[in-house]
Symmetry: C2
């Protein structure tokens, strides 16, 4: 249903009806629509901790804004380190091979993850900024879990957060270069 209707178009109620169960049962196993969505696009979930994207957003937002970049890198890599590289690879493979998840995943990422982050930042161009920040941490994950660039794969998440966090920070909150300001 996510693939057919997109992330926003599919409802937990509709999914429950299609499955012939009570919506409360769906909520019992998947605490939220984001968690249900994420479970549905993660092909190798058995025996590994669930990825809860809403918790990830909460982690990034809780704390001083001066450290938001570092928290983002830390929360993202901690989540995927514990979820397992094979899950990240499986997700990327699905996206890259153009399966039905791409449209709904894009909508999910922009609306359920990045929009709440963007709306907390008192900055211009919040969508461009948060998408660039997301691209940065996805790139780190590709380097760490897929290509396995040696320094990126072997570093601790704390080291990567200390190194890349300030870069994400300036993407999010630093004044934009002049050519990016509205003229």
């Amino acid at each position: 249903m996510f693939a057919d209707k997109g992330y926003a178009g599919a409802s937990v109620r509709g999914i429950a009806r299609e499955a012939g169960v009570d919506p409360a049962l769906v909520h019992h196993y998947f605490e939220s629509k984001p968690a249900l969505f994420f479970a549905s696009v993660m092909p190798v979930a058995q025996g590994l901790p669930a990825v809860n994207p809403s918790a990830l957003v909460d982690q990034v937002l809780s704390g001083p804004v001066e450290e938001i970049g570092r928290r983002w890198v830390l929360a993202f890599l901690t989540t995927w380190d514990s979820a397992g590289p094979e899950r990240f690879r499986a997700l990327l493979l699905g996206v890259t091979s153009g399966d039905g998840a791409l449209g709904s995943l894009r909508q999910f990422v922009t609306e359920a993850l990045l929009l709440p982050l963007a709306s907390k930042l008192q900055v211009d161009q919040p969508l461009l900024r948060t998408q660039a920040a997301a691209a940065t941490v996805v790139g780190l994950a590709v380097g760490r879990y897929v290509v396995r660039l040696p320094e990126i794969a072997n570093a601790s998440v704390e080291t990567l957060a200390a190194l890349v966090g300030p870069s994400v920070q300036r993407l999010l909150v630093d004044p934009l270069p002049n050519e990016l300001l509205p003229s």
Copy 2:
């Protein structure tokens, strides 16, 4: 041969011998070993301009060091914009699905692209820095060509270079956070 022997282990001479041609013929069509390697891992090359990774490194290195981050983003995205999103997706798909190219691609990226860049930077931890910078631009490419995050997909390369260039710049040359310095 790249898949069997790795990037460093396969020689143009050996590849020519295997193909039953003179090495000069290989050099006539592929000016360098990096270009030959890249052609061999790019599945949809017909009718599109060749990606010349050595030219990319030269572009990044030529000019003031204060602008190296911006040049890196600009050269990388200009190259892939003109090579075509489908080629980036094909490369990522090969890498993610674990085909034989991954080991040789990793070696190629680290030795033929990042090592020359790292050796020009008068900084500590040049390998970690250049791999983090590479991860950043790869993430941008995933966002632009694969996931197609709207702001990243629709921005001009100049806009993305202006936004993300300074982040790559600080990864490459800014003083490292205290916890990353050798104790």
